[in-house]
Subunit: 210 residues, 2 copies
DNA sequence: AGTAATGTTAACCATCTGGTTAAACTAAAT
DNA sequence: ATTTAGTTTAACCAGATGGTTAACATTACT
């Protein structure tokens, strides 16, 4: 049976390989590697199941391709903004703003990445590890010099990053819990995220005041 | 084949039902519902696979039992501390301290809960929703009166909670990424968490300064 | 002791699932 | 038109998986 959730997006003008990748991305992101079924992906792509194996030898290889693609367009965006040579406060605001926007459009990505982190940590480490090198050097330097100049309190880059990312990503992971805890509708949650675009930079910057 | 990871914990003096639950908890927490195999749970509990179905009719029912138990001993701990009638700063410190301790001992719990949130949101909503009612009333009141008294900046309880929980939980979810990003060993990560016990309350409280 | 209820085991089953195969279709190249 | 390479399909397969059954063992009850 064709799953009506997916086919709507499966435009016919895409190449078969592209259709498979789009379908696989949707299914994997929502169900995870273990939970996804090849048949479901085939249905979503509106093709025969054998085609999956024709284009991507195995489920694992298909998943790896999707995973790499997703992480490949996700991780760099995190780091590029913070690596730029602009004032700290501007970068923080920009980061939070862009990041929350992206997450609003792709709310399942964080869980997807983190879930598979559980089973394939080496794989992710390898992927993210490469991207990191150098990208944060300027931030490290910036935090150090600003602290030495007495403009901000001294903070380890790891904590700075952990705070920023935690505050931005986690609400999306815990969305259902937050919604139930504070009786938010989906619209309420959107407003909640909008508020956080202002709130998180305030929080981060105020904590850096010397 | 018996999985050597699990059996060490399966003491013989536990009742069969308890052994199953302990084993299932371990396997489910690490592999998730879809990734866990009944045979693996049986091996970990050192019993016949049929016993699983004798004590808990199906995989889903077994999972539900485990899930409810885990969430049942996890969620209340979050809320009880913050619901107490003590000064805000004391509660925040206490919460972060106890929470990070618990997470250090059970680092897989957050991913477990959040992963299955994806497939069974209603179930969690129901579970958490009940616990919530009333538990946070005092905190709501406290945030409001303190703000009116001019002691703290005004903040919505949802944001306050989101900040606190995000900062505490997320680093455990992203542990492998953080470790790779900042080249932390496991010991480094433990120190990192220890530092956060001080850092998070500072961060939260400094952001509340009027 | 005898019997009923409960606990345990091994063998079995239906279905699902990832993956394969060989034949058929298509379209470009000769 | 024939060949050739790439693409698509339907049927099939072996192993895994959740779940069942019926016989056997143990404990509790009378």
């Amino acid at each position: 049976m064709v799953n009506s959730l997916y086919i709507c997006i499966m435009e016919r003008d895409l190449s078969t390989e592209e259709r498979i990748k789009e379908a696989a991305k949707q299914v994997f992101i929502i169900k995870g590697l273990a939970g996804a079924r090849m048949q479901e992906i085939a249905d979503a792509a509106n093709i025969n199941k054998a085609m999956l194996h024709y284009y991507f030898r195995s489920k694992d290889q298909l998943f790896k391709k999707i995973f790499d693609e997703v992480i490949g367009e996700f991780a760099p965006k995190i780091l590029s903004i913070l690596g730029e040579k602009r004032p700290l406060e501007v970068k923080v605001k920009d980061f939070v703003h862009q990041y929350l926007d992206m997450l609003s459009k792709n709310p399942f990505i964080p869980l997807f990445l983190i879930s598979e982190l559980r089973d394939q940590p080496e794989h992710v480490i390898e992927k993210v590890g490469i991207k990191r090198s150098g990208a944060l050097d300027h931030l490290d330097q910036q935090l150090k010099t600003e602290a030495q100049a007495g403009n901000i309190r001294s903070i380890a880059p790891a904590h700075f990053m952990a705070n920023l990312i935690s505050l931005s990503i986690f609400p999306f992971l815990a969305k259902p819990i937050l919604q139930s805890m504070f009786q938010m509708s989906d619209e309420d949650f959107s407003s909640f995220i909008e508020e956080r675009k202002v709130l998180i930079p305030q929080l981060i910057m105020s904590s850096l005041k010397p």
